[in-house]
C-alpha cells in the first residue's frame, strides 16, 4: 500500500513528479463571475435560509398569539376603523386627499408603474452611479410609502386623529 511504497499513491503508480508551477498558475483565484454547482453550494445556503425563516416564524408563533376580537357585529363600528397594515398607507392617503385620488389614481399609478418599470427605465446600466434618477425616484417612493404605512398603522387613533403610539396603541396585526 501507499505507506509502504511512496511511489504508489491512492492505489496508482506515480510515474513522475514535475518540478515548478503549472502554466495556468499555482492557485486558481475564484472570481465572482465563475460558475459553481448549484448543488451543493446554493442549496445548502437556501436550506440554512429556510431554517432561519422557519425559526423566526416558530419564535413569533410561540411568543405572540394571533388576535381574535369579539364576534363580527355589523351594527357596532369600532373607532378607529382600520384596514390591514399593508393597506394603512392607502387609508392614510384617503384621509389626506380626495377619494378618487387616494383610492383610485394612486393605487393604479403604483401598480401600473411597477408593472411597466422595466419598459419605462430602458437604461441598461446596473451600477447605482449610472442610474441616479431611477434609484432616487424608487427610494423616494419607498420611503414615502413606509412612512405613510407607519403613520396609518401606529399613529392614528379614534376618528383618525393623531396619536403617539407610546401613549395610545391602535395598531392591529
Amino acid at each position: 500500500m501507499s505507506d509502504q511504497d511512496p511511489r504508489i499513491a491512492d492505489g496508482k503508480r506515480v510515474l513522475g513528479v514535475v518540478p515548478g508551477i503549472p502554466a495556468t498558475g499555482a492557485q486558481k483565484d475564484p472570481s465572482d463571475q465563475d460558475l459553481v454547482m448549484t448543488s451543493p453550494h446554493l442549496l445548502v445556503r437556501h436550506a440554512v435560509a429556510a431554517l432561519a425563516v422557519l425559526l423566526v416564524v416558530l419564535v413569533l408563533s410561540i411568543l405572540f398569539d394571533a388576535p381574535l376580537r369579539e364576534v363580527a357585529n355589523p351594527f357596532e363600528t369600532p373607532n378607529p376603523e382600520k384596514a390591514p397594515w399593508y393597506f394603512a398607507a392607502l387609508q392614510e392617503l384617503l384621509a389626506l386627499f380626495h377619494p378618487v385620488v387616494a383610492g383610485v389614481l394612486v393605487p393604479t399609478a403604483i401598480i401600473g408603474g411597477l408593472l411597466a418599470l422595466p419598459y419605462i427605465d430602458r437604461n441598461p446600466a446596473i451600477a447605482t452611479k449610472a442610474r441616479k434618477v431611477a434609484v432616487a425616484a424608487f427610494t423616494i417612493f419607498m420611503v414615502t410609502w413606509i412612512v405613510l404605512t407607519l403613520i396609518g398603522f401606529a399613529f392614528r387613533g379614534p376618528n383618525w386623529s393623531w396619536v403617539w403610539p407610546w401613549e395610545e396603541w391602535h395598531g392591529e396585526l
Binding site: 413569533l60 410561540i62 394571533a66
Partner: protein, 244 residues
C-alpha cells in the same frame, strides 16, 4: 468494504437515474434527473451565493408560502365559512384542536412576514438592477405575485369573522366604491351584496383557499422557470465595466 449505496441497487437506479457522482459532469447529470432540483439551474455564478446579493428574500418568500399552505390545510379541517359557525370554529381551533392556536399563529405570522419578504425582494431586485433586459418579463410577473400575495392576505383577513376582520374588510373594500362607473359593481361582485355578509365570507374563502393559491403557484412556477432560464445571463459582463 464498499459502502452500499441506494443508487447502485436496481430500484435506486430506476428511481434516481443518476450516475455515481464522481465528476462534475456526473453531478450535473444527477441534478438534471432530479425532479425537485429541476427548478434550479445546474450552475450559478459565485456572486449569487453571497448573502448581500439577494438577502435570500426570494427563497424566504417561497418557504413562507410553503409554511402557509401546510398550516392553512390544517386549519381548513376545522373551519366552515359561514357567519353562524366561523367565529365558533376559530374559538374551537384555539381551545380544543391539537396545536390549533399554534398552527393559527404560524399561519398569521407567516402571512405578515410573506408580505414583508415579497416587498423587500422586489426592492432588492430593483436596487440590483435585476429587472433589466432580458429579465423585464420576470419583474412584471413578480409584481403580479406581489399583488396576489396582498389579495391572499386580504381575503384571509376576513375569515376569523371577528370585529377586526369584519371592519378591516369593510374599510378595504369600500375603496372600490371610488372607482368611477364600475366601482360599485366591482364591490358588489366581490362582496356578493352591498355590505360584508355571508356571501362575502363564502366568496373570500373560495378565493383564499382555491382560486388565489392556484393562480399564485402557477405564476410562481413561471417566475422560477424564467429565473432559471435567465440565470446564465451575466449582466455585469454584458454591460462591460458595470458593477453589480
Amino acid at each position: 468494504m464498499k459502502r452500499l449505496k441506494l443508487r447502485d441497487t436496481t430500484v435506486g437506479r430506476s428511481f434516481l437515474r443518476s450516475p455515481d457522482r464522481a465528476t462534475e459532469r456526473d453531478r450535473a447529470a444527477g441534478h438534471w434527473s432530479n425532479f425537485l432540483l429541476h427548478i434550479y439551474p445546474v450552475k450559478v455564478r459565485r456572486r449569487e451565493l453571497h448573502f448581500s446579493f439577494s438577502w435570500y428574500l426570494g427563497v424566504a418568500s417561497a418557504v413562507l408560502l410553503a409554511s402557509l399552505v401546510a398550516s392553512g390545510i390544517y386549519l381548513m379541517f376545522f373551519y366552515l365559512p359561514s357567519p353562524s359557525s366561523a367565529y365558533g370554529d376559530m374559538q374551537t381551533i384555539q381551545t380544543q384542536v391539537a396545536f390549533g392556536q399554534f398552527i393559527r399563529n404560524v399561519h398569521r405570522w407567516s402571512a405578515h412576514l410573506m408580505v414583508l419578504t415579497v416587498a423587500a425582494h422586489m426592492a432588492r431586485v430593483f436596487y440590483r438592477g435585476a429587472y433589466k433586459a432580458p429579465r423585464e418579463a420576470n419583474w412584471t410577473i413578480g409584481v403580479i405575485l406581489l399583488v396576489l400575495t396582498l389579495l391572499l392576505s386580504f381575503t384571509g383577513y376576513l375569515l376569523p369573522w371577528d370585529q377586526l376582520a369584519f371592519w378591516a374588510v369593510t374599510v378595504g373594500s369600500s375603496m372600490a366604491d371610488f372607482v368611477p362607473f364600475i366601482g360599485g359593481s366591482v364591490r358588489e361582485v366581490l362582496l356578493g351584496g352591498d355590505q360584508v355578509g355571508s356571501q362575502t365570507l363564502l366568496r373570500f374563502y373560495v378565493l383564499h383557499v382555491v382560486v388565489l393559491p392556484v393562480v399564485l403557484v402557477g405564476a410562481l412556477a413561471v417566475h422560477l422557470w424564467r429565473w432559471r432560464k435567465d440565470s446564465m445571463f451575466d449582466q455585469a459582463a454584458a454591460e462591460e465595466g458595470g458593477e453589480a
